[in-house]
Symmetry: C4
Subunit: 322 residues, 4 copies
């Protein structure tokens, strides 16, 4: 094959790669849509009833739900970055970070939730066992951190079912909640969540309070424990040498942001959900700020540290109230 | 259709998408232009007469004009990001942030301006009613946050008229000012603003003081209340997972920047315009710095907090002076 | 013309645009080069003799050379961003920032250097006159901030000559130094600088001390006053909404960086060169840190604030020493 | 050749360039892989036995291994950025920064390791001699900072052998360790490292403690001294004007990160590896934070400052223990 032919193929592969990574421009542009189209797109999945209880268990003012998405190598695999050096960054998650996090949670006597891609549960069965043995929750987090919005409905359903079964086998208990990988959402993600009768989802961002999810305008009975990029360690600390993603906020400044978020959550007597990743927050210079954050939270009265499933159950009590 | 054909199509779609997002290289490059071309491009829209009054109403030294662009889901829709999770970030604007902002403005007894895309006014009529009921201003902000520079003159005019009518119906009062979406500006934006007899624009950056806009070298009578990326919450706090846009300045550092801007504005006895977005500034860790900023401003004598229309009217008094 | 044809054209234009903005991959890759090729590329322009004098005029320890590149609209024009809103950001440079900077330099009784694209000198003749009237230097900075590395040798020479003449007419005095736009450097930039018998260049980064430039291994007699991105306001404060360039370091942190650079320069008894841009540093929240920086520098004994031409003349005295 | 033909060629070259810079999407996507494929990719190179000794030489608690990758112009050459201004940034590394770093290490009486691309060793033989004369280590760092993952196995082997010979000639001693350029890793990098009988590698990230590398599941006897982007100056201070890479964390904040990393390393009685680059850390405003960091480390009891080869030898003592 000559060089020119290689170039042509390279050009098309490169464009196809870029295309696969980028959300597509709608056709026609949104300013040309009629009102039905706007309403149907915006109304697909919406926030319904506020599910904040009058008070949280133990008569506490605020629920503090810490979570760790144990991605390890799966994001690299999904993106096709197969370098052993790149993959070793994920290996760090189970080899070093999980132990450090479990020790910290033990020290503070806190239970938390770990969302685990099924592939990680199979590659690192000991991590899952340690997590469960300490009384923490294992929740769903995709098969291999796939982008659900690039799948057909049936592919997404198959992967979710396979993930469910794999997690149940690894953890010895059925998962009751999901956090979608990268918080991606296809038009049928919520439909499949209902089919699987999951108690809660933790991937949407319409509120900080727990709420009931509406699907195509109708109540689903699914509890949403909302997330936010602000309350995630990745936007501040992520590093990808092939893009320009860099750690760009100092740990002490991230601590300040999270402390402010918590202080208002407490004042508002509501919910505080924090998303972290062992291979990101588990590093020496970052675990110390998580320690400081928890110490700050524990110094205030009225805080209920709880697993996502416990929070969802407490919130679900509001579903049946008028 | 075979895979190779799909690749070819993907390549062209990808390139077309990139093209639609990027300002075009002029042909020929600018160093080859003759002087007339340079002058005509630079001279299209310029800053004219400084409209700072001797003193602001109430004999105050500085006018402080706070504004909130209530974009909600429109930027996502415009960019074709239709994921329910992505859209839920916009839903947060009206569901959570508007209430928090209105309470803060109430607490400080301040009136402000809200620039609202017409689609948001229709999707969230209650937000518009609450804003108006509290005595705040509703200003124009496009139909669906479209890029005016990608439209023909007639398309831009049609959307501006439709937006005007929609806002008037939702707010019960006619808007008198505009902030263009993303501060984009086509060669005929100012022409249409004059046709619509708007009092003011707030999208240009040639000064911090209010000024009269010149169009093709001639005074327009339109008051400019200039903006700046420095005085906008988005460049510091914006997050787009498909690009590398991240929140990269800590809230306390943003507070310091805005406080410095205000202090010099007060010293110079001029104007302070701050642009924010409910779904960005309305989060717990950020609303507290807006609270601190307003408290700082109120601690200084000589500050007139006012809506953009009030500031524009005070500045317009200078139009007729020699 | 049908839509498919438009897509094809768009694809090629987009790729060509990307190509024109990106340095080209050498062919073959560098690891395949022979030693002669490596040496000839690296050896094209090099740092020669250290020109730091025993002491600076007035028996001072350190020379502090502040400079302002008055780009205004030229970078936007060069990049084909012709939006009136974008251009108004450049207009701010002469309308607001130059006055603020001149007042600050006056207050501190300091002379500085302004590097001015010739197009700016023609669009804003009053800025040039004010700068000259205050005793500051006007230096060359390209015709319209063009990328010299995208020009042929003759095109680059023609633009440099035209810029020289235009600046001389605007300033009433011949420029003696150059800072290339964006610090770009073609293989023949230094050759043309010598032809034009300029005293100094301020665009290279091999040292912090002044040095004699070597061209193809031979001394040129041209004094280099080296620059660095660390000592430039743009990398910290730049904003480009079409890329992900954002202001991402707080002004007080930039002040700390520049203060540290100065403190070591003073300790080393050498040179401190700071590059700024009126439309960037001239904003309210930034001019105050420049004020603080100058105050800090003036609080230390042994600092000679000087124009680039004065520093270059003092350094040139070392050219003839053995 | 007409313009249209140029455009077509430009389009393909541009795409090919992008392709050569980006890791490729695997085909098919990872969620379609069977379990063998996942295991074989993840299992290629893994972390084996923890090699932390009971105590470090001198009965110290923690080993502190500082390293400097002397890249100078090689990254620019590899990426095809041949502008004399760009290259002068690399020249700074040997002309200015190496001397400043050697003086700092002398002041603190510390030995460190310098990883040197062979091309740099030939371009700057004096730098190598100075480094060796002061008792520091010279380690391998590629031929011209090439991307090993873009080479065939034989090309990678040839360049590694040529680099080894060149370094030995320049330093007068054989290198015993390697840090791969950019920490890239091909599937056969570890195979070649074993063939060359190197004592250690310092390019992987599965732990902070020293460990034995496993290759395809089997112990290699190669000691890994793991690195991390957190412990590298480039992610915080790097600058590339053609991308959006910018210095975006203030030096004092970087100092705080590294100090936190060290404090936990000391507490855990383990290893602290810091990767720096002379042309990055050697600048005035950054060398002062390295000085502060070392002073902080020296203020704590139980710190063994050592070269990478010394640390690797101490760790290798654990290889033979059960």
């Amino acid at each position: 094959m000559n060089k020119f032919a290689l170039w042509i193929i390279a050009a098309f592969m490169s464009a196809a790669f870029a295309l696969s990574q980028t959300p597509q421009q709608t056709e026609p542009p949104a300013w040309q849509w009629d009102w039905n189209r706007i309403q149907s797109v915006v109304g697909k999945v919406r926030a319904g009833k506020d599910l904040t209880p009058k008070s949280w268990p133990g008569n506490n003012r605020v629920a503090a739900a810490l979570s760790f998405d144990l991605d390890n190598e799966t994001v690299s695999l999904r993106d096709g970055n197969l370098s052993p050096s790149e993959l070793s960054q994920g290996e760090y998650g189970s080899r070093v970070a999980v132990g450090r996090i479990l020790a910290l949670l033990d020290k503070h006597q806190i239970k938390a939730s770990f969302f685990v891609p099924a592939v990680v549960a199979r590659l690192y069965p000991d991590s899952v066992k340690q997590i469960v043995a300490k009384g923490h929750e294992i929740g769903m987090h995709g098969w291999i951190h796939e982008r659900n919005s690039l799948l057909t409905e049936q592919q997404e359903r198959d992967l979710m079912r396979r993930s469910y079964t794999t997690l149940r086998e690894a953890a010895g208990v059925s998962p009751v909640g999901i956090r979608t990988p990268s918080w991606d959402y296809s038009p049928w993600t919520m439909k499949i969540i209902r089919e699987m009768k999951l108690l809660y989802d933790s991937s949407l961002m319409a509120d900080e309070r727990p709420y009931e999810v509406l699907f195509e305008g109708k109540p689903t009975g699914v509890v949403e424990l909302p997330v936010e990029w602000i309350m995630d360690d990745y936007p501040y600390f992520g590093m990808n040498r092939f893009s320009t993603i860099r750690p760009h906020i100092a740990p002490e400044d991230v601590l300040d942001i999270w402390r402010k978020e918590f202080d208002v959550a407490l004042e508002e007597a509501s919910l505080f959900v924090l998303t972290m990743h062992p291979h990101i927050i588990g590093h020496r210079s970052r675990i110390v700020i998580l320690d400081k954050l928890i110490s700050h939270m524990k110094s205030r009265p009225g805080v209920w540290f709880a697993r996502h499933d416990e929070v969802a159950k407490a919130a679900a009590g509001q579903l049946r109230r008028q």
